[in-house]
């Protein structure tokens, strides 16, 4: 049995257990923290930085998804500074690659769009990088459009941890980082991809989609992946 501990979130005392992340404790206590790279059942990696929070005694902001709670921890999740930082992060998602919502398959069914609304993004205050990002349609059933990828790596993790195929991985660093198939081969030439489609269902944007999907009509079933993780007892 993990040790019982007491922490404080936004001034409210909460009794919980050691070994849990700040994010999971917040969820248990109905405290909503914006997050995009987290997916229930997959290993958290702290990629999106949206769940950053302030912890007393630390001069750096800490990601709620990968920071474990500790006795007497005093956490702030919704300060004005954090709200502004979250808005900045979402604006940076939009400025880093080429997100054209109006023509996207995921339009109106997109977590990035929802997040922009949630954090109160009015417009993008940073110059667009206008990076040249390829579209890989070599897979017989699916397409990956790097223009729409926010590098949350959910696809990498679901492929590795749930499907066990590990087709997806990441190359390069910073804004040059890209999700790759096998050893940076065209997806259609992958020897590991099982064409299961799990990556499509966990993708928060329109970066991964099935051929035949049309504008604003992308069907995604992330809850099926959650069910599968629970039934298989992963983690």
């Amino acid at each position: 049995m993990p040790d019982k501990i007491t922490i404080s979130i936004n001034g409210t005392e909460i009794k919980t257990e050691e070994g849990k992340s700040i994010l999971s404790v917040c969820k248990e206590n109905d405290i909503h923290i914006p997050v995009m790279c987290h997916f229930p059942g997959l290993t958290d990696v702290g990629a999106c930085r949206l769940c950053l929070c302030e912890v007393k005694g630390y001069n750096k902001l800490l990601p709620a998804c990968t920071t474990l709670v500790a006795e007497n921890m005093e956490i702030q999740t919704h300060t004005e500074k954090l709200k502004e930082y979250r808005r900045v992060i979402v604006e940076m998602f939009f400025s880093e690659r080429n997100h054209m919502c109006s023509i996207c398959v995921a339009n109106t069914n997109c977590e990035l769009q929802d997040m922009a609304t949630e954090v109160g993004m009015q417009h993008v205050r940073f110059p667009f990088l206008n990076q040249e990002c390829a579209v890989d349609a070599s897979h017989p059933k699916y397409v990956i459009d790097h223009n729409r990828c926010i590098m949350c790596t959910r696809c990498v993790r679901v492929c590795s941890e749930v499907e066990g195929a590990h087709n997806w991985d990441v190359k390069n660093r910073g804004y040059n980082a890209r999700v790759i198939s096998d050893f940076d081969q065209p997806w259609g030439e992958s020897e590991t991809c099982t064409s299961c489609g799990k990556c499509l269902n966990v993708c928060p944007t329109g970066a991964l989609w099935a051929k035949g999907s049309v504008q604003g009509k992308l069907d995604k079933f992330p809850e099926k992946i959650t069910d599968l993780i629970e039934k298989r007892g992963i983690h």
Binding site: S102, V135, A137, G212, K217
Partner: protein, 480 residues
């Protein structure tokens, strides 16, 4: 005449058109009009940035070319995609796309006629420019203006009721329509029909009355014979959506009948020009200049043998009597042709809505990439439209070629403004009304330049007279 040496008149921007453009009138040393040029100053780059996209995305991307005629681009894209897939949509999918396209014809033509061009007719070419717009019109002709606005609304409601969006319609996909028609939408749209027919009857009477009164001027206004190109059905009936491409010469003789749209590059060539982003297309076998042709409402009525609906057919017969011949060359009659096409669109929309199977959910055929190339062809409000896509083995676009209606009318628009300027613009006494006639010649074609919606008549007009060294010797300004 030394003071007129090398003078140039610039009309910039041209008002009451869709987009930004300018006109320059270049005079020689003797004060004679040397060149009249219609400059399009915008560059959009769709052909380039669509490269690398997956071909089925195109029906969503290309409608963004234009806020007035997005449906034609969507339909043309979907057809090109269907060429790549080698599939055909189910009948009802086709009918729904046709219905939305008819709605677009109504809204676009209504915008052109009531909002942009009718002030010239009803208020007069020389009327105060502050009054010569739809707001000024409303003071004098409230019923007509209200009806014109509502007619445009009806056209957009067709798209709204079917797809949920008035502009940049959704649902047009490679293989048909992803959104079927609902019963409540059908009923709501049918209620509009009687009012729309009444408005068009009233407008046609008005146009014919105006023509009778101003016959002398209109018969020579930008009158110049050209070839004409448009779609017709297999039996030669007027057609908007599908059909064969027909070209007639200036005497109305059929030059081409049913060339495969996929082979258009064999028939039509484009000549780039240094002073405009619009190229000069021409009919290849006749060569540059002799092969200039016109597209759009006037061209469609000139290539057609009959209209598909009874009321429009009655008007078509009267239209054809205008010049006692097979073809009508008077540029002003673009407006008449536009009214007849709106009438036919309303009748056709009614017939489609009354189709007993129109509520079917079998609207979308699925398929995958089966060949590298696909060509789409349909009619946009301003004329015939071609999309030609080439893909790699995976369906990513490697080449996109769009042949757009306004571009095809470019040579004719330049001829029209030259004719009108020669007749009305006096270099020693430049009258605002004369320049408005030059703009009016352009408005006949209803050019869609930025392919975006604009408020009517709110842009400033600047006319500069420059000497041969480029020094401004006189400036006239209005509006703004």
């Amino acid at each position: 005449m030394a003071e007129t040496k090398g003078k140039k008149i610039t009309i910039s921007p041209v008002t009451r058109i869709e987009g930004h453009a300018r006109i320059t009138l270049q005079y020689d040393a003797k004060g004679k009009l040397d060149e009249a040029r219609f400059h399009v100053n915008e560059f959009r780059g769709f052909e380039k940035f669509c490269e690398g996209r997956y071909f089925t995305e195109m029906p969503a991307i290309t409608p963004r070319i234009c806020g007035i005629c997005p449906v034609s681009h969507a339909v043309c894209s979907a057809k090109a995609g269907e060429g790549i897939m080698r599939i055909k949509p189910p009948r009802i999918g086709d009918q729904l796309r046709r219905l939305i396209q008819l709605g677009q014809m109504i809204s676009s033509h209504a915008l052109s006629f009531y909002h942009l061009s009718s002030p010239d007719m009803l208020m007069g070419w020389d009327c105060d420019p502050d009054k010569r717009n739809i707001v000024g019109m409303y003071e004098q002709f409230p019923d007509l203006v209200r009806r014109g606005i509502r007619l445009r609304q009806f056209g957009q409601e067709i798209s709204m009721y079917i797809t949920g969006k008035k502009i940049h319609t959704m649902g047009v996909v490679c293989g048909g329509m992803s959104i079927p028609l609902k019963e409540e939408a059908r009923e709501a749209l049918l209620k509009w029909i009687p009012e729309a027919l009444e408005t068009l009857d009233m407008s046609l009477e008005l146009y014919k009355g105006y023509y009778e009164k101003n016959k002398e001027e209109l018969n020579v206004f930008a009158y110049h014979p050209t070839m004409y190109m448009g779609l017709v059905q297999a039996d030669g009936t007027h057609e908007f959506y599908d059909g064969k491409v027909r070209l007639v010469d200036e005497k109305g003789e059929i030059v081409e009948d049913g060339f495969n749209p996929a082979d258009f590059a064999q028939y039509i060539a484009e000549h780039p020009i240094a002073w405009s982003y619009l190229k000069y297309p021409y009919y290849k076998p006749y060569g540059f200049e002799k092969g200039f042709y016109r597209v759009g409402p006037l061209a469609r009525l000139n290539v057609a043998e009959r209209m598909p609906t009874p009321l429009a057919q009655k008007e078509f017969e009267l239209f054809r009597q205008l010049e006692d011949g097979k073809v009508i060359h008077g540029t002003f009659h673009f407006h008449y042709a536009r009214l007849i096409e709106m009438l036919s669109s309303v009748e056709q929309a009614r017939d489609i809505l009354n189709d007993p199977q129109i509520l079917s959910t079998e609207t979308w055929a699925r398929g995958e990439r089966n060949q590298h190339d696909g060509v789409g062809c349909t009619e946009a409000p301003r004329g015939i439209l071609f999309h030609h896509y080439t893909t790699d083995d995976n369906g990513l676009l490697t080449k996109v070629n769009l042949l757009i209606a306004t571009g095809q009318n470019n040579p004719a628009m330049n001829t029209s403004i030259k004719q009108v300027a020669e007749k009305y613009v006096r270099l020693d006494d430049v009258q605002e009304g004369a320049l408005n006639r030059v703009e009016g010649a352009i408005r006949c074609y209803d050019p869609c330049l930025s392919c975006s919606t604009h408020a009517a008549g709110q842009m400033p007009l600047l006319i500069e007279l420059k000497d041969h060294r480029g020094k401004i010797v006189r400036t006239l300004a209005r509006g703004g």
